[in-house]
């Protein structure tokens, strides 16, 4: 819809033809850009149907021609009063305290408002939010940034409210703030990825000493439930994206299948057990800095050496599991990383090996496009770019894990330094025992 809005803004009457797959709320896209509306003609052909005009010109003709009157009408029918002079919206008077009720009532109210992720939330009371804010020196009304597409103001208090709802602890707040700062950076392309049909997932990587302060899991079962830092930080970011950024399922988020990773996808790097320098040091930060990195994959593969020994056994499945030539996060557990290091591999050499041995992937060309000037549907570089790969030492023994931004190569890793409050040690001390201690059977 943004193309159409851009053309309208240029003074050119426009119409978007969209198909059934994009049954998102076009009015949201328009109002998010300050436009009274957009005119849309709904196509009857689903996007997954590949209707080729060489094979079935009659089908194309039969599908398109009946829409022409509507398309012409959209370009020539005078603007309605509402389109011409939209009713001015009332200035917002946000109330800080929004609801009063029991735990159950709060949860039902929030759910029915579309403010939760489907799981119960911790009620963001004044007391809980005040406690959350002990995790930062920023004042409650401090505007961290604005998050699109709704350009909601991510004030420190709003961020803390959502962090409370997610069950995060005050020690998680500095990481969440860094996430809020990272998202709007253009390189993330989050405005595209967060609401795309591809159901991309914000994948958060934490480096530096804060991992140990807040008990981020970087070992066995990173992505399984059970670790509050991994669970709550990602969940808080999901709620922030929804409630402050305004990306709501089905309304703005057109993710065709969705992705469970949208609940949370957070990892640390096992820097203590790694034979290589950690990711944030590769990117120019000091080892003593703590950082948060985000990218948007949607393709996740676990693999293993499959009988091969040594470096070949590790690298061969990596080569075959890096999907597409977008960004890839390659997670190698410490044991495998040490084998590679003993055989002379650095992180960079691992990337170069994958790039060198990857099977070239054909761009998604139209069958007849070689003879035309039509660009490929998805341009592909001939080989994966080592700059698009992130090698992390993480995970439990027994396998390798690859998260890929399949096809898409226009995003970049965005890394932010995590700023800690002055009283960080005190906050950490208060929550240092927040770790699960399982009974021995």
């Amino acid at each position: 819809m943004y193309n159409t809005i851009a053309a309208e803004e240029m003074g050119k009457p426009s119409v978007a033809v969209s198909n059934q797959t994009y049954l998102v709320e076009e009015g949201s896209a328009a109002s998010g850009r300050g436009m009274p509306g957009v005119r849309v003609v709904w196509d009857s052909i689903h996007s997954e149907e590949w209707v080729d005009d060489r094979d079935s010109p009659e089908r194309v003709e039969a599908g398109v021609d009946p829409l022409l009157d509507t398309i012409i009408d959209a370009l020539t029918r005078p603007l309605t009063d509402e389109e011409k002079s939209p009713k001015e919206k009332e200035p917002e008077k946000p109330s800080r305290i929004f609801f009063q009720g029991s735990l159950e009532e709060v949860n039902q109210f929030f759910y029915r408002r579309g403010w939760s992720d489907g799981l119960p939330v911790i009620p963001p009371t004044d007391e809980a939010v005040a406690e959350m804010l002990t995790g930062t020196d920023l004042l409650p009304d401090h505007l961290i940034t604005k998050l699109g597409p709704r350009q909601g103001k991510a004030t420190m208090e709003k961020v803390a409210v959502n962090a409370v709802m997610a069950g995060a602890l005050p020690v998680h707040l500095p990481v969440i703030i860094a996430g809020v700062q990272a998202l709007p950076e253009r390189a993330t392309r989050w405005d595209n990825y967060q609401d795309s049909q591809g159901s991309w997932v914000p994948f958060w990587t934490i480096n530096g000493p804060i991992r140990n302060d807040i008990h981020v899991n970087s070992g066995i079962g990173i992505f399984s439930p059970g670790d509050i830092a991994n669970a709550a930080i990602g969940r808080a970011m999901g709620l922030i994206i929804k409630n402050i950024g305004g990306i709501r399922k089905v309304i703005e988020d057109a993710g065709a299948f969705g992705n469970p990773g949208k609940y949370t996808m957070v990892t640390g790097e096992d820097e203590e057990e790694s034979p290589w320098e950690p990711f944030h040091v590769e990117r120019g930060f000091n080892k003593e800095d703590s950082t948060l990195t985000v990218m948007f994959p949607n393709n996740f593969n676990w693999t293993f050496p499959m009988g091969l020994m040594g470096a070949d056994g590790i690298l061969t499945p990596l080569v075959s599991n890096v999907r597409g030539f977008g960004l890839s996060i390659i997670m190698i557990p410490p044991g495998a990383a040490k084998i590679l290091a003993q055989e002379g591999f650095t992180k960079q050499k691992v990337k170069e090996y994958i790039a060198e041995h990857a099977v070239p992937m054909s761009p998604m060309m139209r069958p007849d496009s070689e003879d035309s000037d039509e660009p490929p549907l998805m341009p592909m570089p001939p080989k994966p770019n080592t700059d698009h790969m992130m090698v992390l030492v993480a995970g439990g023994p027994g396998g390798l894990y690859i998260a890929s931004g399949a096809w898409i190569q226009w995003q970049e890793y965005v890394i932010k330094k995590i700023e800690l409050p002055k009283a960080w040690d005190k906050v950490v001390a208060k929550y240092k025992n927040m770790i699960p201690i399982y009974a021995k059977y």
Binding site: V15, G63, P94, R96
Partner: protein, 125 residues
């Protein structure tokens, strides 16, 4: 009422009112660029306006822009052919976005600004 919890609103303001970009001189084609997205609420900024519609397409140039989603080329080629068959008084120009449906296309917007009278985006807009 001791069991009643008073809770705070989690929604970032503004929730539904947006206005013109603060920098009115920012390029029109920057609509995809978050740098230029609206930065304030409707109270402070005026709304964008939809373009006035054409009285007729006769003698006009309609750009048909293929955004790159599956089916768009076939769809727009047939739109072009339909105009050739049924409305030869309308000039159509079929253009493919050269990068992707996700990225900006300043040169194309400039061309449309200079030479086009109306635009059909397909599919997926």
């Amino acid at each position: 009422m001791s069991n009643k919890l008073m809770v705070l609103d989690p929604v970032g303001q503004p929730t539904g009112i947006f206005g013109r970009r603060l920098d009115v001189d920012s390029p029109m084609f920057a609509i995809h660029d978050p740098t230029y997205q609206p930065r304030d609420t409707a109270e402070a900024l005026s709304s964008l306006k939809m373009a006035e519609r054409l009285d007729t397409l006769e003698g006009k140039t309609v750009y048909l822009v293929n955004t790159g989603f599956a089916g768009a080329r076939e769809f727009l080629e047939e739109v072009r052919d339909w105009f050739s068959r049924n409305r030869p008084d309308v000039k159509t120009v079929l253009k493919n976005k050269t990068s992707s449906m996700f990225t900006d296309e300043p040169e194309l917007w400039k061309e449309i600004q200079e030479n086009g009278d109306a635009v059909v985006f397909g599919v997926g807009g």
